[in-house]
Symmetry: C2
Subunit: 281 residues, 2 copies
């Protein structure tokens, strides 16, 4: 694949997934190397139009969340925390040419919005993983942050996901590839979960636990809400379902974690976890 990186680097390309001591973000697509140009449509970036290694080569942490405004606020917060010299005004939306997603970078931290639901985050992840691959990023940690519905826990509790499960409490993501269904693992990095949990102990009044996160395709009927335009189940059925979810180890519900776990796991994002602050239920 052609890119704007110097030609002298290209000899490293073939073996970079196993390059000594570093873990590069990798793609699993034999066709990519045959392409003259890779356009990341929904990010408004490309290998011929942008110097991706120069723009993103130093990225070590990627934080993703649904809302564009929140990801901007998060980037500005990180900028202050890191005490970087760059002026706050210089942190601009890198994907300003499109209104599909927003992206901000401060030092080694990249913050990107992903919209709502599995299909929306899936498009972003395909293009983000290719971006990190083209930029020769290595040892990257990715964390999804967002609100969710808690089950049997106090509002405001932070849930660090150990494993993402589907609506049937199964630790799997069913990916439809053409007209075949392929089941993928949704396990997340245990070391990172514990590291994040230890961090939470250092902050006063920051209730945190490690648990399973359930991922649904629907916010209303799929999560047992009684206030959608459609509702065909009783309050009792809803409570029975949520109780069974709790018994299965589920502590919160959201709409992106299974595909997030599956895709990051397949593409060598070294450590990954989902950090979620339940607000409802």
């Amino acid at each position: 694949m052609a890119s704007v990186i110097p030609a002298s680097n290209s000899s490293m390309r073939s073996d970079r997934n196993t390059y000594v001591g570093k873990r590069f973000v990798h793609v699993k697509n034999p066709y990519l190397d045959l392409m003259d140009e890779d356009i990341l449509y929904h990010l408004d970036l490309g290998t011929k139009t942008h110097n991706l290694p120069a723009m993103f080569g130093d990225v070590k942490f990627v934080c993703v969340g649904g809302s564009p405004n929140r990801m901007k606020a998060f980037a500005l917060f990180m900028h202050k925390e890191l005490g970087l010299e760059e002026a706050e005004e210089d942190i601009k939306d890198i994907c300003a040419g499109t209104d599909r997603y927003c992206m901000y970078k401060t030092g080694p931290v990249l913050a990107i919005s992903h919209g709502m639901g599995i299909p929306s985050i899936s498009i972003m992840l395909h293009e983000l993983i290719k971006l990190l691959h083209h930029a020769w990023c290595c040892d990257v940690t990715i964390i999804r942050i967002g609100t969710s519905g808690g089950i049997g826990i106090a509002p405001g509790t932070v849930v660090i996901t150990d494993i993402a499960v589907d609506s049937f409490f199964k630790p799997r993501f069913e990916q439809v590839i053409l007209d075949n269904i392929v089941t993928r693992s949704t396990e997340l990095d245990k070391e990172l979960s514990e590291e994040l949990f230890n961090c939470s102990k250092e902050i006063p009044n920051f209730p945190t636990l490690i648990g399973h996160t359930m991922c649904t395709y629907d916010f209303y009927e799929g999560q047992g809400r009684l206030d959608g335009a459609l509702c065909s189940f009783s309050r009792e059925k809803k409570l029975d379902y949520l109780k069974r979810a709790y018994k299965a180890g589920v502590r919160n519900i959201e709409m992106e974690s299974t595909v997030f776990a599956a895709m990051c796991g397949l593409c060598g994002l070294k450590a990954k976890s989902t950090l979620i602050k339940p607000q409802t239920f």
Copy 2:
């Protein structure tokens, strides 16, 4: 359900789905009438905070599409076409208090963005249907407009969807309700399809056809793209799949039509169709 509409209207409430000569947008949820307030979270609107009948009671056409910018452009275009007196600057994002969706109104036309994918449009449709219900809207036509991948047709051709099918070419939408799978119909309004098709004939150089639209959960692996971060199928397998889709009557692929057809069909949106302009494949 409490709302800001005058109390004298409340006697009409119980029988308004069948009110003589008019077809009201209705919800299918017995719990809604028991609620003191209905907050449309993702639209930043509510029955106690907004006078929904005054704001939206005259809506007759709802046009939805993925991109916020495009929906704004569409609203401004409609404003000019309708020759309304209101200044263009007054067409403001009604959902400006949230960054989940954008909404613009010009005369009887409401334009709303829905993001990408079934879960994202599903959240918006739940809240939009409740909004139209609370606002006493009747005889509403809803049209989804957007780009898509064409199959076996010239780029730029407009496809008017007669029926939405899933990745297995079946005219169904599988809705997960708690942990049950319910299959819903995805048929769209035939009369509207023909009406739109007849309109297209009046415009020079506007190639248009009526056909099936396939709706997938994924943009890359689900639609046979060879340029995602993950690709496990051959070019031949891709072509075979697309040929089978064509044989089954599919003329384009997108990511929202099945749930759009299913939900609008259930809630009395009188006529509905999807109008799509393929750009790729």
